[in-house]
């Protein structure tokens, strides 16, 4: 584990991701509405490159709606490019089964630089 510079914070605006060569499979560093998170580029299911999948929101049960469904948490969910498992980027936990997790890493900003500890 080492604290390594990733990029200038201007180069990682909200809603974007940088894939960093770190760890065994790479690490995705995400800017979600100004907060930074990092998850392993490795889905805990079958090892797919998680960070190459879509970043989306998810749906929750909303019985008052005609379709009983509401879209929430846009931009916070990483969907695995293979089986589309949903992972909360902010915690690394699967939405369906929180016991299934992907590895998360510390990210910080200092002097306008984004640093990843991986």
């Amino acid at each position: 584990m080492q604290r390594r510079p990733v990029c200038a914070i201007e180069d990682l605006p909200p809603g974007t991701m940088k894939l960093v060569e770190a760890g065994k499979f790479g690490v995705g560093v995400y800017n979600i509405d100004g907060s930074l998170y990092a998850i392993a580029n490795y889905c805990s299911h079958e090892g797919a490159p998680l960070c190459l999948g879509y970043v989306r929101g998810t749906n929750e049960y909303a019985p008052e709606m005609p379709d009983q469904i509401r879209h929430v948490r846009e931009g916070q969910i990483a969907r695995c490019p293979w089986h589309q498992w949903e992972f909360d980027i902010t915690t690394g936990a699967s939405l369906a089964d929180p016991k299934k997790k992907v590895r998360t890493y510390e990210v910080d900003v200092a002097d306008g630089q984004v640093y990843l500890t991986a």
């Binding site: 090892g47 797919a48 490019p81 589309q84």
Partner: protein, 387 residues
Amino acid sequence: MTTVEDVQDRTAAADIAVTIVDTDVHPLPVSGEVLKSYAPAEWKDKLWPTGNAVSAVPHFYDTPDSYKTNSLRVDASPPGGGVAGSDPDFAAKQLLVDAGVSIAVLEPMCDAQLPQAEDVLKATHNDWLADVWLGEANWHGRWRGAISVTAQDPVAAAREIERWAGHPYMAEVLMTPQTRGIPFGSPHFDPMYAAASRNGLPVATHLMGQTPFELIPIYPVGNPAHWHDFFASWPLLYVSHLMSLVFDGAFDRHPDLRVVFVEGGFTWALPAMWRMDRIWEQRKADLPHVRRKPSDYVREHVRFTTQPLEEVDLGEYRQYLEMMDLGDNIMFSTDYPHWSYDSPDWAIRRFPADQRERIMRGNATALYGLPATVKALPSELPGDVAV
């Protein structure tokens, strides 16, 4: 890191041992125009009528986010353009090199509404497959193909089988299991089974989620509303066909017939075999032509591909497979480049140790008559997985 250009370089073509056979891969034409170029002129407009629908054959159930994914792996699009599965060299890089597959069986998917049109469409796909995937691009000998045939006209299907029998890389016959209410054991299919058996070709069948209207399976108690429970129930289509093959005497009429159930998983076969054995024991007089225990027919005549593997506690899963004792009948598959792809690295660790070799290589090698070695692709080492 292996590139597409590397894959095309044949100069370092050493032989490597076959370790993993993938029995379910889906190639796609790079464009409709390319596919059409293999169709007879008088059929082009009939098979692909002009119209305003962009999707020629729509989903009747949709997989997660399929408007964007088209049911494909998001990371499998060739860098040179085209849809996932349309570039033999990029597929070779991702599947053969990166994932470590030695030999893969290619199964195109297509159906048409009317029998003659379907016969022509299948032949068109066979010509396209042989040219684009099994010709020059197969210099390494690691692709095999399926002879697609129409289930609606088994005599035409037999003709198509005879046309391709003897091709060095066509390894099986492929038909739909969505057979408009005619179960696999019906004598309707006899001309096709005879042609396949005569030529030593297994008959594989593969479920299709994008089809003409008549191929939508109407479930006996009605259809679920979502792909989730629809797909969880789909093995019951294979159970229905398997019971028919045994009870309606197809294996007695065709002693050399081998049937492969693709992309339906296989764990359902255990309770199905028990049920068949029990009813046969209790109602033998109803089945005078079924001379052996049903499960014996299954063990001799039937194979199953593994994908999609279930996500379940590993200890319990291995216990189940040990109890099932079907290690001679299961063949590994990835379903590349579909979204529900199973990685060989992950899959191999799911199986009991004493079944692994047969599942990953041995059973498919025996069934399809595959070699023990193939040509290595550049930068490939056995078991290597590139990032």
